[in-house]
Symmetry: C2
Subunit: 370 residues, 2 copies
Amino acid sequence: MPPTYDVVIAGGGVAGLAAAWRTVRRGLSVAVADPAPGGGATHASAGMLAPVSEVTYTEEPLLRLGLASLAAWPGFRAELEDESGVELDYRTEGTLEVARGADDMAYLDDLAAFERTLGLRVERLTGRECRSFEPMLAPSVRGGLLARDDAWVNPRRVVRALLTAFEKAGGTLVAGRVSGIDASATGGPSVRLTSGEAVAAGQVVVAAGSWSASLLPGLPVRPVKGEILRLRGPEGFLTRCVRGLVHGSPAYLVPRGDGEITLGATVQELGYDARVTAGGVYELLRDARELVPGITELELAETTVGFRPGTPDNLPLIGPAGPPGVFAATGHGRNGVLLSPITADAVAALLTGDEPPPVTGACDPGRFSE
Amino acid sequence: MPPTYDVVIAGGGVAGLAAAWRTVRRGLSVAVADPAPGGGATHASAGMLAPVSEVTYTEEPLLRLGLASLAAWPGFRAELEDESGVELDYRTEGTLEVARGADDMAYLDDLAAFERTLGLRVERLTGRECRSFEPMLAPSVRGGLLARDDAWVNPRRVVRALLTAFEKAGGTLVAGRVSGIDASATGGPSVRLTSGEAVAAGQVVVAAGSWSASLLPGLPVRPVKGEILRLRGPEGFLTRCVRGLVHGSPAYLVPRGDGEITLGATVQELGYDARVTAGGVYELLRDARELVPGITELELAETTVGFRPGTPDNLPLIGPAGPPGVFAATGHGRNGVLLSPITADAVAALLTGDEPPPVTGACDPGRFSE
């Protein structure tokens, strides 16, 4: 019996959908199985495309991956908007990373030097200059960096665009959850849905975020809880992403074209604790308020919990995993939206027998067992 | 044409429903018009029955009214639970009012002396004693008062009980909003509903909270915005109401039998601004956290905005208002749940030609025009 689809992708978050879209465009028949596409970590995500700010100096492979994907974003965006007709709210005004004390400023100066070695454009600003760019910044801001190459995007629009483009290109969305993968002697694996239905596929991609280990036992991915808030304010309240260290943890405010501001994010190793907590909301508001005091007047429109798919080395898991014909595309941690273009290119190449981009070689899911 | 009902009550919050229940039990036919009973200020309310803590020393008429209504609560509760079969989560473990500094403690000592002159039972506690009663209290609590006569109740259950008892006793709920009151030459006023329907009544009671002035132009009632939070924790996290002054404003935590804790409340003169604000939520969490640090671990289950019906002297408006046969029962400010029994007794007496309780004489809606 021939398989129903060339490829079944288990999970319709930003990584799975991007891979599905890129693969269906190569002429394969592709189904994405997800009861609520974009409802997982992508739904919580702020959508910053800021690889340098998001990593530590020691994580060079992740940094290279992020920079490669950032470079792919303009083309990815143009094609996606063109094919879907959905505007992504892709913005390129840059990130303003602010300092409130001398220690903070020294840290930013080091960061700027590092960013310049990577060829990124970074400008050192005084506190006054920061406030001239963003008048809502706190008077306590004494300086900052403007990272002009940072961009950001509305992840929920990206999901909508990917769904549209994927289906327009002939892809199939299956509104069910994959509960297991069965190897078969002939014709590749098949997936079982929680409804009991089985779907035969030539190849399977597990892109189920932090839940991926339930489909590929032993896959080193775990949930990293994040709480994130969405405020609603007047358009133009902020015009750039604003970041800063407050009480030792990074806080960020990401403005959208419609006046929404995403405030993030807590990072907690608490398994699948889906509760929005009083303490999480308190800390996010407290920290954001120290950077931009005027947020207190804005509406608190949404509180969300998401589970980032974390891995031991913070690099994603992209490549063959489990039985023959089964691949993983998960473990993107905080960087799922940023890394979607490069992930999609790698997955589409693997599924069609091409060479994936060399920079994704560091993401082999088998690297921990070697 | 005879009126459809002896009495139509415009508004099914706790005051209107209590008055309706007490009136229908006197043998009158009564309709309550409200598209969403209990959905206004009552829905936000914490349900504290603590007249002394809630008023200032200078508001003696309000204090006497509150004490009279507090005294009526045990009987009101027993009858209401009996007739409705709904358990109100009425609790009498008392309020623990805590002090964090010497100034706070001096204020509480004055309050205790005042409470004793009113015949209320108040105990002075050390910080250690406070924490032995409520182990979750902050180490910074240096003393407090246990007000044993304070009680509290779940306002949403009170609404459910009143609706049940009212309908069981033969009352009618009309699921529509009253948009106007028309005087007529014969047989009393009638009300217009937003649907266009007119309902003739022998008498009309306006119990529409802060919206009452739209039905009785010139009635001195205005919306006083409040934001309030509901947390969800383990049962027994707190066993008493906990109050305290934090950053100069009173904060309270009201525990329910099911582990819910109500955190209140902001007070703002902003008209009908129904937005939950980042600043309101921040301040409530910040202040509650200073009294009971462990709340940070609890789920933030609900954020609610309500509009207290405020009056110039903080006393309610109970009595004849507007055209003949029209009465007001509104303006209860922060005290709607506390004052429901005495309000209900007064309204039922007025509607049946009896004398209302003398203590409600201070609530004549015409007092400001004299």
